[in-house]
Symmetry: C2
Subunit: 386 residues, 2 copies
């Protein structure tokens, strides 16, 4: 709370609004066509004359387009506000920052809860299976719509990092640099397993009804359990010990399986809060896209990156056991083998996977200097487009 | 399968039967009285004349009394058969091995699915909250019933290890040695969190009905999800990668959220199998007992162990992230500080927490030699009782 208030007073970009961009339709990787497609997005700062200062920020599983600043009548700033604003790592006095909500989501972009034009009802499971590459292809439409030929950088952590890798592999001529954070070329079976249990929990909820719950009660209990599992994996053994220890809550209730420990209360609170703002079917589609993602499409990543001129900064966190550092090192190794200019840093943090949202000082420092360097190089080369 | 068949041919103890011991009632730690209480148990080998060769094996969360040998008309041997039998680590030619099902369970012992004599219906949530110490106090009645004054050893992994620590702290004069495996003095918030999510999943199931599901459909989907979460924590990132990789199953079904990856199919299979043999309310009571357990009751373990003559062998496994080695080292440190004779080994295994069931060679070797040593010391001292 303190941090957030401070952030708002110091260098907040102030009031912002989420915008929407709609295009008629496009072809998914599966071959299916989907349309119309709307993407929610926000922008901060101004595009320069050369259109060389655009940075795309892509979000993680439960994120949205509201990365920075304040919405009217709301107290909490966007999810990466500590990084975005005048003088911050993504310095809005220098850069034009775009944050796009993902295809398949439920925060203003087209997803399973959107109305299917063919039926006039929500898609539910008639929504086609989407991939991380589909999400990126939709983003590319938005970037083109904004008149940008080439992004100075694409940045994101976790599933955002998967999108960064998709840009890196599929659109090397559309980005000057890339910052994949706490991410992986492809999910390990353990990562798939945690997502699968979340999906099973949603589908086990009697209210799920094979996805056709719109207009009735949502599968909130199943989604809350999925979110609780997520939260355990986002923290570390150590950060949980530091935050909760074995502190007990005031029991109060006579119920035997009440939340006795602080950590139980925290998980229940986080689970219950999440269901107010997230759609269970979106959770299914997005986690499946993450699990199916393979950045290099079955080939070796170094092969598909060969010849790429994109500059890469990869970041991982020591206590992150969900996306362990060895996975970032695999990305770095492939980049190096492909001759791609790559910087890597493993930040010494106890926050676990959440560190990419919380390790403001060190992470912001790395990003600030990397962006300064690539912005300089980009302006020197003058290669603002194809 | 191969291992099991081999085990049966080589040194199986052959056909065994589960027995039952019932006592009138006893007082729980909470002050409540519970009775009558039945414990299911099995024994292998014979008690010697001096009654100095009795080893008690205590099981983990989902275990039962059937630790070794074969039940009539069943193919699979008991859950620790590789360790128990003629010539094995728990050599039934030398030792009298007892395995007791726990109070609160659902495998023949009194638990929430048992009939409440006050109502004639299953206890459900009228079953009192039990503790690990209650479980051990009930075991002690069984041991006394078998005419044993002092156990040569108490052995168990995971929640079994918690019971071993309870024996060590509360009944130092009733055991000559103790083998806590892959366990902890008290659960960390991360361990509590995983159990809590399992409980939430069960209680989220519409069939749970505040525990009153007996006679109707059981909360099988919720319990299956709880078990799937458990299975992820029992394996390691590496053992999952080795076992499943990113292999895909034959899809077959047209459903979008089918089990595409082998690891998904495995989890679903394990979850579905578990609900056929386990009671959801027992899962709630037992996990709560694990979470509430604090071996030294809020004091420092070295204080409560001071003066103890019990010999200890503690074992942990390198890739076990659910009960990490540092927790076993805390036990060992407290024992050493208390002047308790203690041996410790961290086995280099990739199996994760499951290693205590699977690392037959090294673990069995350690146990075999430790038991030989303490049996010799016990016979030399001749101190067969109080």
């Amino acid at each position: 709370m303190n941090r957030e208030n401070k952030t708002i007073q110091n260098n907040s970009i102030g009031l912002v609004k989420t915008q929407a961009f709609t295009f008629e339709s496009f072809k998914l990787e599966s071959g299916e066509r989907l349309g119309p497609v709307t993407l929610a997005f926000e922008t901060y700062g101004a595009l320069n004359k050369e259109k060389s200062n655009a940075v795309l920020i892509v979000h993680a599983l439960s994120g949205d387009a509201h990365a920075a600043g304040l919405h009217e009548n709301e107290k909490d700033p966007g999810w990466w506000d500590a990084f975005i604003g005048p003088g911050k790592a993504f310095d809005t006095d220098k850069y034009f920052v775009i944050c796009s909500n993902i295809l398949g989501g439920c925060k203003g972009s087209t997803g399973p809860s959107s109305v299917n034009p063919a039926t006039g009802s929500p898609y539910a499971l008639d929504f086609p299976l989407i991939t991380i590459n589909d999400i990126v292809n939709a983003q590319k439409r938005l970037i083109e719509h904004l008149g940008i030929e080439k992004l100075l950088s694409v940045v994101g952590g976790s599933m955002g990092g998967q999108q960064v890798l998709s840009w890196l592999v599929n659109y090397p001529n559309k980005i000057f640099s890339a910052i994949p954070i706490a991410t992986t070329i492809k999910h390990s079976p353990q990562q798939i397993a945690f997502n699968e249990v979340g999906r099973q929990s949603i589908m086990a909820d009697a209210h799920w009804k094979s996805g056709n719950y719109y207009g009735g009660p949502a599968p909130s209990k199943g989604l809350a359990v999925a979110r609780m599992i997520g939260h355990i994996t986002y923290m570390s053994d150590k950060s949980m010990a530091e935050k909760f220890g074995r502190s007990k809550k005031d029991a109060g209730e006579p119920f035997k399986f009440t939340a006795d420990f602080e950590v139980e209360g925290y998980l229940r609170y986080r689970g219950d809060n999440f269901v107010k703002r997230f759609d269970a079917n979106s959770y299914l589609y997005i986690t499946k896209a993450m699990d199916n993602f393979d950045a290099s499409g079955g080939k070796r990543l170094e092969e598909v990156l060969r010849g790429s001129k994109v500059k890469v900064l990869a970041i991982s966190f020591k206590s992150d056991w969900l996306y362990p550092a060895y996975q970032s090192k695999e990305i770095v190794k492939a980049c190096k083998l492909a001759g791609v200019e790559t910087t890597y840093c493993e930040i010494d943090s106890t926050y676990g996977h959440d560190a990419f949202l919380l390790e403001v000082d060190e992470e912001a420092h790395l990003i600030r200097h990397f962006l300064k360097k690539v912005f300089y190089a980009y302006e020197v080369t003058g290669n603002y487009g194809e």
